[in-house]
Amino acid sequence: MFSRPPARRLAAVLTAAPLALVLAACGAGADAAEPAASASPTTAATTVTIEDNHGTVEVPLDPQRVVALDNHVFETLSAWDVPLVAAPKGVMGSGIWPAYTENEDVLDVGTHREPNLESIIAAEPDLIIGGYRFGDHYDDIVAQNPDATVIEIAPRDGEDVADELVRQVEILGQVFQREDDAAQLVEAFETAVADAAAAYDGTSTVVGLITSGGEISYSAPVTGRSIGPVFPTLGLVPAIEQAAEDTSHGDDIGVEAIAAANPDWIIVLDRDGAGVGEGDYRPATELIGASPALTSVTAVAQDQVIYLDPNFYLTEDIQAYTALYEQIAQAFAAA
């Protein structure tokens, strides 16, 4: 937590402070008009204090105009029927969250590479949930939206991803006053993790792979995107132990290296499966399951290849991990 750059934390506080003052002033005005009400317990707090990735932030409770940029939160928000005023439709796939992507009233922020940050300003939000792919734009977003509270609650680098996912959904629960629902999500997640860990024999070797554009990449244990975090959470034995150079897209690896490592299990993320690359699309089932070089590998020979939900590349939220751990638990138990 203390590794955050102080300037950013200061920026967050500075943004939050005037807002808190405004809110406090509103509160005071209401109290003055109706002094009797101030004493009554029905006047609940209008803000909640949370710890985001930059420090302590006062967030308006149950905000009405929300902009979400972090892919981890869309599933939870859509399940809770939280309307958005702007969202990055370019990185939300199609048909995963139709309530947001197919709604004309939700302004399009584009993608993190070609963002249209002005649409955030135009949406006049109370709360902006930034971070993750949009992490680089944090300072701009804070500067351009002085009236909004900006928070980043995506899993932090170097922290345990499982804990971070839980933390994230708990913060959402606090902000949107859905703490019971958040607790349910956390419970389902923890059950799935426990089941998968219990089903693992403790010795089988596992390798994580990412396929894209007809190429196979290696997703390193712990740090590799999507699959990496599964290793420490379940205590899996890696078939190839090597630090990653490209943690988000994986490192170039040939089929020979996979064959030589001869993993008992392969967990694959098909990055093109999420609606992009339908053209020259060579699915992971073909690249790995049908590769002539891999037929004698234990994982392929014994049908022990776990293919992630193709949308995983765009979701990566606690729900997606819950489903993945359930899938792993089932596969391990069946072996």
Binding site: R113, S212, E215, G254, E256, A293, S296
Partner: protein, 328 residues
């Protein structure tokens, strides 16, 4: 050579040296090719090693030989046609056009096979190279540097268009994967189309004399009774096919067509016909050496050959140019 005294002897000695040199180059290249067959993560002595040899090593090595010789030889042809030493597929925009063709084929014809994609990519490469040649014909100042600059500018415009289309259609991340020259995915069943470029190489050998004459310029060539335009078209078509096919299967192989023909010229002078085998061998040797390096440096991972070629090729070329300059 200076110690020889009789008149006919130097010629004989030179001829002998020449063929001896070629033999040595061939042996060196062969050694690299054989090394490529035995460099890899999988232990060939282990169970299944036999099968792995035929599934990955042989196809990969053949692909290296085919793509390496084709790109080097097409660099030589483009240099003849434009009468400029600094022109090759990646500096004339040919590869960029092939990439645009590939992306368009993926977007507009999502279900077609590899063969159709290659035809589209090669056609785009042909159109692009013709555009380059036409623009070049209208350029008044044709100094050594202006010609490749024109090619690089055209290539940049085309690649900007490709990027724009990729951004709009969400293919941007795939673009990097596709065009980064890499032989990692080359396994049995994935490289066979590369044999097309073998035919291109043979055709270039057959047409070598005509290409040499065309390299003297339109006026001289026409005076010598050559149908200049026809040779230009055929030459461009061959280069387009070689770059189109290589781009689809492997990706960009930067500098290969630039470094190899120039190194051969620097060492042997300009004689297209007798240089051709050297350029072929040089292309194979350079791309194979770079690929072996890419396979060994980060075992069990690989570094794409395009990256190594960019570094090694550029550095080696600079060194050579500087050394030859100094010697006068």
């Amino acid at each position: 050579m200076t110690t020889l005294t009789t008149a006919p002897a130097p010629t004989a000695a030179r001829t002998w040296q020449r063929s001896g040199g070629l033999l040595a180059a061939a042996l060196l290249t062969l050694a690299l090719v054989v090394t490529s067959l035995f460099v890899g993560v999988y232990d060939l002595g282990a169970q299944g090693g036999d099968a792995m040899f035929w599934i990955t090593r042989v196809p990969r090595t053949l692909a290296l030989v085919l793509a390496g010789s084709a790109m080097a030889v097409s660099g030589l042809v483009l240099q003849q046609l434009t009468q400029n030493r600094f022109v090759e597929a990646t500096t004339a925009g040919t590869s960029e056009w092939a990439a645009l063709g590939l992306l368009l084929s993926v977007i507009l014809l999502p279900t077609v096979g590899l063969a159709t994609r290659m035809v589209v990519a090669s056609a785009a490469a042909f159109v692009g190279t013709m555009v380059f040649l036409v623009v070049l014909r209208r350029v008044q100042v044709r100094t050594t540097l202006v010609v490749p600059v024109v090619g690089l500018m055209l290539g940049a415009v085309v690649s900007a268009l490709t990027t724009l289309i990729a951004v709009r259609t969400n293919y941007l991340q795939l673009l990097g994967t596709w065009f980064m020259g890499s032989f990692t995915t080359v396994v049995r069943g994935q490289y066979e189309v590369l044999w097309v470029v073998a035919a291109v190489c043979v055709a270039i050998f057959v047409l070598a004399d005509r290409l040499t004459v065309a390299g003297l310029g339109r006026d001289v060539a026409t005076n010598l009774g050559l149908s200049y335009d026809r040779v230009l078209l055929v030459g461009t078509a061959m280069v387009a096919v070689a770059s189109g096919v290589t781009t689809v299967v492997v990706g960009f192989l930067p500098f290969l067509g630039l470094v190899v023909p120039n190194v051969v010229s620097l060492l042997r002078g300009d004689d297209l016909r007798s240089n051709l085998p050297w350029v072929c061998l040089g292309g194979v040797a350079l791309v194979t050496a770079c690929d072996i390096l890419g396979r060994v440096v980060r075992m069990p991972f690989e570094i794409p050959v395009g990256m190594i070629l960019g570094v090694v090729g550029a550095a080696g070329f600079l060194l050579l140019v500087l050394r030859v300059r100094r010697r006068g």
